[in-house]
Symmetry: C2
Subunit: 246 residues, 2 copies
DNA sequence: TTATATTAGTGTTACTTTTACACTAAGCGC
DNA sequence: GCGCTTAGTGTAAAAGTAACACTAATATAA
């Protein structure tokens, strides 16, 4: 693959030079190689109704017509991958300033029967409170699904969601990623529920509180949350200054 | 960005349909959007001379002429990203069956002044013993460098290597990734050195041995390694069947 | 106003894991 | 057989994790 090698940004150009973008582009087009399409998909996850849910869109055309898929779109020439992901996010949910992380890049030939598509997948965590704004929740073609009860998915999207969940779980206990699923103020019980829902198992209340509080990452707001007919709970807020620890 | 959205493999196609690859391709070409170039770069790391080193190639043309860069090349239309990475690997080192993992995808516009390039970066770990075959070690345009003493690097490659090292370190203690840097048989001291070199700090000999052996992941070969004028060391081999633990 | 229902909030003990630390064993060369 | 060098081993203190049950504060209904 001499041709491709010399064109590489990282090539040591043993066999030729392209001194300008034009020269490069020309050489490239003259070769037999087409360029793959590059898309960015965004796995948007949120906690809704005590469940970890993901936003999916329904496909209306071939291939996989009628099946559900992770929302995404082409990367434009002048935007970064992350910017493209944010754009997708806004198109679907009209939120901004959310947690966004690059997950993985999927690019097997044949994963899309139409053409070669390389998809850079991001995942976003949305706090359920701010999310309420968006009305499209129950639209026929955009819906939230439980990560634990997914419909049949288009392309390799089942694999992608599986991977997203694994990444989220893996990061739970050595990062502060979980806070992104909660509103600014929350009770310890609510935080514990986030962990329980994502890890899919019960945690010990006392041990959980002890551990979280010992990191110093939570700040008591002084306020209390009163709901239902029982003792009110302290409201805490995440203290980013202490991020380093947990 | 309605156009891109409907073209997306994941689109819900609110505003139009493309029923075939051809229709899609046509629509796409008719749009104002070009496709970015997609390359795969491979960070090849190995332990050489008691140091963690990386293979770099010297650029002979604009941009970054004369600077060192991570080897890479274009992805071909019919090969997977991983296949492209393996191809790069073989071109530079003529080894195969090495540890290879996708690291991250870099795609900021402007990272390559020639054109929009999206680079999927892999990293490979090479066992120094098998590596000796390759002669090109001291060639003027392909060389090994210490990860702790890098030359000025082209593009955003300094950032990429920093990220690769962070990933390698992060995975050291909950995976068996380190074994990929050693030959099939090795002594506990050699394994400990791998950890020390990558973590860049001394480890306690007794605690290290205790921990590694307690996982059951090592198999005593019965053989011993005799070198120098001192007691010979037991040779172990990695037992993949027990992989699950460490 | 008192009883009841419901979730918030709190400590101690056993167990496991991690850390710190120093001497004997086996080979080689002289 | 002495000296040099690296291999190989155990124990105790400390830290972290896991298991477990009762009192506190509110709302509602009797």
């Amino acid at each position: 693959m001499e041709q491709t090698e010399q064109q590489s940004e990282t090539s040591n150009s043993k066999h030729g030079e392209q001194q300008t973008p034009e020269a490069k582009a020309h050489h490239y087009d003259a070769s037999k190689y087409e360029r793959p399409s590059v898309t960015v998909d965004v796995v948007m996850m949120s906690l809704r109704k005590g469940d970890l849910q993901v936003l999916l869109v329904k496909r209306r055309s071939w291939p996989y017509e009628g099946m559900w898929a992770i929302p995404g779109g082409f990367v434009q020439m002048d935007e970064s991958l992350e910017t493209a992901a944010k754009r997708e996010l806004q198109e679907e949910t009209s939120v901004h300033d959310v947690y966004l992380e690059q997950l993985y890049t999927f690019g097997d030939p044949g994963r899309d029967p139409r053409t070669r598509v390389i998809t850079v997948v991001y995942f976003a965590l949305l706090d359920s409170e701010r999310l309420q704004v968006r009305a499209a929740d129950d639209a026929a073609d955009v819906r939230w699904f439980s990560m634990y009860n997914l419909p049949p998915l288009a392309f390799d999207h089942a694999q992608i969601l599986e991977y997203a969940l694994a990444r989220l779980r893996g990061k739970l206990d050595y990062t502060t990623i979980a806070f992104n699923l909660l509103p600014e103020q929350f009770t310890l019980r609510e935080l514990q529920r986030v962990y329980e829902i994502i890890l899919h198992r019960k945690l010990d209340k006392r041990n959980f509180r002890k551990k979280v509080l010992s990191t110093g990452i939570l700040e008591d707001t002084g306020a209390k949350k009163m709901e239902g007919t029982h003792r009110p709970a302290r409201l805490y807020r995440f203290n980013p200054a202490v991020e380093a620890k947990l």
